[in-house]
């Protein structure tokens, strides 16, 4: 094990994580802020809400599809370049939004270009960079990124709403674009480095390892493979992906249908909004708590627990009466809402190392987005057919139990670098022998 750094001051990796926090803050905030402008565009362009919504739907799809692409580029060229170029496109696209003449250009610009670019400023490349900078504190560092997304919704969405009220939607997009170009681009260029080795540093701020030390160089995993495709023949990537699909199904469906469910239970949208605010607040605390805990105990146990907790939240929606269901869901669901993100990314990094983490995390994130998109449609179908969400929520609870069991079944002690340290020769062997072979040899 490498010796701990004796240098004074804060480890530079925390500045990198905070700069990435800000880029995620802008990226998520920008996409969530889209909803603020829907009714204005509806009036300005004389189109239906459904037409304006096409851009959001296309954007959801493009964002999902872009994840493995940006992940692969991150693995090859480093995450800093991916995030910088993506921020330039996002910022330039947002400035161009100020000049959008009709809804078709809006769909093309926001739905395709900006949404695709936001995939390059997502948890995929940012998570890879953080996973390179941190090994022991990976969980809490990635949870910091996750809170950036929550903060984006809390600050940037009201900011966009007030910009709209203060001026107009063109000025609002211009200002947001200039914030990205004028603040995020220089910050990432100045502060972020894709790998601590670029600054002569080691992960976690450790001193340079002595010759023969294990875990020297970029963090590796027992299933580190020479080709990323070899990783697909190992169980953990599928276990993580299956569970994350369920995460997408259950979060996207709630996100879209929560207000409508509340209305069906005779709960006012305002009360539902307060409950969702409570959920978000508890979620912020739980993400940090889970990040801290996950660096001290098996991540699969926490991940499985998070899915189990969310299953209880779904059951509360079915079996408890209106208000009790609402607040139970807000409190119980808040404990699990975004907590899956740092756990899944950190566990993938522990198992597969960082060499191909971008493309692997990209696939896992794409699975999440696709599952979410399908669930939004299917939950709507269920409500239209049965006039209640109960069958859909029961199915969601069952899927969450399945996800919990799947997460708990990951052989973390055998496949995670936290329990099965990988030496440099073993990594080389992994490269030549393929993922599944080395995975078996990498266990204690």
């Amino acid at each position: 094990m490498a010796r701990r750094a004796r240098r004074e001051g804060t480890f530079y990796g925390w500045y990198v994580a905070l700069a990435l926090f800000f880029s995620i803050f802008l990226s998520v905030g920008l996409r969530q802020g889209y909803g603020v402008f829907v009714s204005t565009w509806q009036d300005d362009f004389s189109v239906s809400v459904a037409t304006v919504s096409i851009a959001a739907a296309v954007g959801w799809l493009m964002n999902g599809l872009s994840q493995p692409i940006f992940g692969r580029i991150t693995d090859v060229m480093g995450g800093r370049g991916v995030i910088l170029v993506s921020l330039l496109v996002m910022g330039g696209g947002s400035v161009a939004m100020a000049a959008v003449p009709n809804v078709y250009v809006l769909i093309g610009l926001y739905g395709f270009i900006i949404s695709f670019a936001t995939g390059g400023v997502s948890f995929t490349p940012a998570g890879v960079i953080v996973a390179r900078w941190f090994r022991r504190k990976r969980g809490v560092a990635i949870s910091l990124l996750t809170t950036g997304g929550s903060a984006g919704g809390l600050v940037l969405v009201p900011f966009a709403a007030y910009l709209l009220a203060f001026s107009n939607w063109r000025m609002a997009w211009l200002v947001m674009g200039l914030l990205i170009l004028g603040l995020a681009v220089p910050l990432i260029a100045l502060v972020v480095r894709s790998d601590p080795a670029e600054m002569g540093l080691q992960p976690d701020g450790d001193d340079a390892p002595a010759e023969g030390d294990v875990q020297s160089g970029p963090p590796a995993g027992p299933l580190d493979a020479k080709r990323w495709r070899d990783s697909l023949s190992s169980p953990p990537i599928w276990q993580l992906s299956v569970a994350y699909v369920v995460c997408g199904v259950t979060t996207a469906s709630i996100a879209v249908h929560f207000v409508r469910w509340a209305e069906s239970e005779s709960i006012s949208p305002g009360t539902a909004a307060i409950a969702f605010g409570v959920l978000s607040g508890i979620n912020g605390l739980s993400v940090v708590a889970v990040g801290l805990l996950s660096d001290r105990m098996p991540r699969r146990v926490l991940l499985g627990s998070v899915y189990f907790i969310r299953a209880f939240a779904f059951l509360a929606l079915v079996f408890l009466p209106g208000q009790a269901a609402l607040w139970s869901f807000a409190i119980i669901g808040g404990m699990s809402w975004l907590a899956t993100v740092p756990l899944t990314t950190a566990l993938a990094a522990d198992v597969y190392g960082v060499r191909h983490l971008g493309v692997l995390a990209g696939f896992i994130n794409m699975a999440h987005q696709m599952g979410g998109a399908a669930a939004v449609y299917l939950f709507g179908l269920v409500f239209d057919r049965y006039n209640t969400y109960d069958p859909a929520y029961l199915a969601g609870a069952a899927l969450l139990v399945l996800a919990a069991i799947t997460a708990l079944s990951i052989k973390e002690r055998k496949y995670s670098a936290r329990y099965a340290p990988v030496s440099a020769p073993a990594i080389a062997q992994a490269g030549s022998a393929g993922a599944s072979t080395t995975g078996d040899s990498g266990g204690p």
């Binding site: 700069a19 990226s27 909803g35 999440h368």
Partner: protein, 71 residues
Amino acid sequence: MGPDRLLAHHAGAIDPKLADWIKHQIDSVSGLGPGTIVIVLGAMIVVFPLVLGVLAVRARRQQQQQGEDSN
């Protein structure tokens, strides 16, 4: 139920009704005009990266200094 109703998980667009409701609540609690709130929130957004950038540059210089001293 269209995709415009996505609330706040990962990066979906916020529900327009919810955004409007949140703005109304902030209005009633703060009693401030839109321009003032834009300035307050804008200042928060601008200050964070500026302070972080300065601190990061200082940390990098300090680290280089330590490296030179140890050599």
